[in-house]
Subunit: 305 residues, 2 copies
């Protein structure tokens, strides 16, 4: 599938209705996943705070994981070694284990696995990965899903603005630095990783208000100040975090490009911002003459290990 | 106090004996703190996994915070607005609230506050902040504390290696990218923020194995590849994460400077790596002709808000 076709499947993905049969009682949640499969858990972590939730991106589970834990394994391929390792541990501990995968080993070791369509890049399956989490813990209403589809379709049909932005980055060979704030911290991280995987450009991310306690000090005097470009995804959590964007600009004399999320609910806004970043990094790849789907470096690394 | 004198207090700080009188029963832990005061909670999070633990660096507490929560507020000044906000919420929810502070409002709103000496930069008080957490939840043995003091003293007396490294960075005006892996992910973040606050240089951080799922793709073809310098703090968790350092070098053709932690216990290794980064960034500041203690940007920002 062409990468643009992949991107266009996102609007279908938000209508994915599968959910987990959660146990009646549980006291904490762990969502395991790496890279493009792990981002769903990182995003969901900011939307759910009824119980302690850990987004796990390493080989081993914390000591507290036991029969009171809901453990959800996310791996598009179903063969990610870190996820297989942590999932095996969770099963041994007696946790309630669920999975989202297109196949692989994961399907064999987890009984309650939601199957999603194969053939996509893991990072293009975000809807399939995120919707089961939302459907299970905090079901979105149908109108919000419909509006999300419309917003995504709008972006599919008209992403000129993102192309112009990508041209600006490419003309001056800028390193993108992306700032988020609650509940879009993980979306800033997603942008960073899409700059990496699609456009093959290094990128950094951080979030308000934390960055005002450290990174802000470097913004005025760092080496190569003109070689960075700054983005800020305006949050809908604490409003003082948005006031911080302007104040950070004022104190450092730097321009921070504000990306305003469209949409009424956080669901809409998250998918809108995600897709904005998808197109920005897609266009940047094209301008650089780089294949956005090529992640052979990751494959080579896996073989070496 | 001169910044070097501040750095030299760290070896005294590790002998700080205060601890919290934790309740007999609690089901989760939240440690609130920003920037130089928040890093202790981020480091501790990797050392403790008996119960769910959240390192909170925003204004509001999660929904689950209640009387079963141990809530620890860390603010060197005692006046950090995000921490005052979250601590007030935790008190309203009936959590068991503790604090570490040198004074300020926090001392007035939290009964169980451990007082630490004033007059330091918040980021230079890491020992005073981290030890009460360790003493309360996972008391280190005296021999490990003694060895930590010795290691820190060694670095205080001989940090030529870090100066040479700083000269390399400054001569070529390199942007440092710091990789950690469990249990030193937060130490990589600490290095990043010390590059920011001490040397006024932008920096990025990430961690194994996650970076092998995204950032690795950018390392070969990014803009300005030669303008970055890469460090990796060798971890003591999953050994495959260390194998990943070499494999990442091989696949990308980049050199990643490995920093090997000295010490027998993770306590020693963490403080060793922290102090290594302290000196590296201190020397870089000096070479740039920059005052490492100057964080007036943060002060200006606070006034603007």
């Amino acid at each position: 599938m062409d990468f643009l076709d992949e991107l266009r499947t996102l609007r279908e993905q938000v209508s994915f209705k599968e959910s987990f049969s959660l146990p009646e009682k549980y006291s904490n949640v762990v969502i395991a996943g790496m890279g493009g499969s792990g981002i769903a858990g990182k995003i969901f972590q900011e939307l759910y705070s009824r119980k302690p939730l850990l987004s796990l991106d390493d080989y081993h589970v914390p000591e507290y994981v036991d029969s009171n834990t809901v453990f959800i394994s996310m791996s598009y391929s179903g063969n990610t070694e870190e996820v297989i390792s942590s999932t095996s541990e969770a099963l041994e501990r007696g946790a309630s284990v669920f999975a989202v995968t297109s196949g692989g080993k994961l399907e064999n070791i987890v009984d309650n696995a939601i199957k999603i369509p194969p053939g996509l890049q893991p990072r293009s399956s975000l809807g399939y990965m995120l919707m089961p989490l939302l459907n299970s813990f905090t079901p979105p209403d149908e109108s919000s899903i419909n509006r999300t589809r419309e917003l995504l379709e709008e972006l599919d049909n008209s992403n000129e603005e993102m192309k112009v932005e990508a041209e600006k980055i490419n003309r001056r060979e800028l390193i993108p630095v992306v700032y988020g704030s609650s509940p879009f911290r993980a979306v800033a991280y997603r942008w960073r990783t899409q700059f990496n995987e699609n456009a093959k450009v290094l990128s950094s991310s951080h979030y308000f208000p934390e960055l005002d306690h450290n990174e802000i000090v470097a913004l005025k005097e760092t080496y190569h100040r003109k070689r960075f470009i700054f983005y800020s995804l305006e949050g809908t959590g604490e409003q003082r975090n948005n006031a911080r964007i302007g104040a950070t600009e004022q104190v450092t004399g730097l321009e921070i490009n504000r990306i305003l999320p469209k949409g009424v609910s956080d669901l809409e806004r998250i998918f809108y911002l995600i897709h904005y970043g998808d197109y920005l990094t897609y266009h940047l790849a094209k301008l650089r003459g780089i294949d956005p789907t090529d992640v052979s470096t990751i494959e080579k690394m896996k073989k070496l290990l």
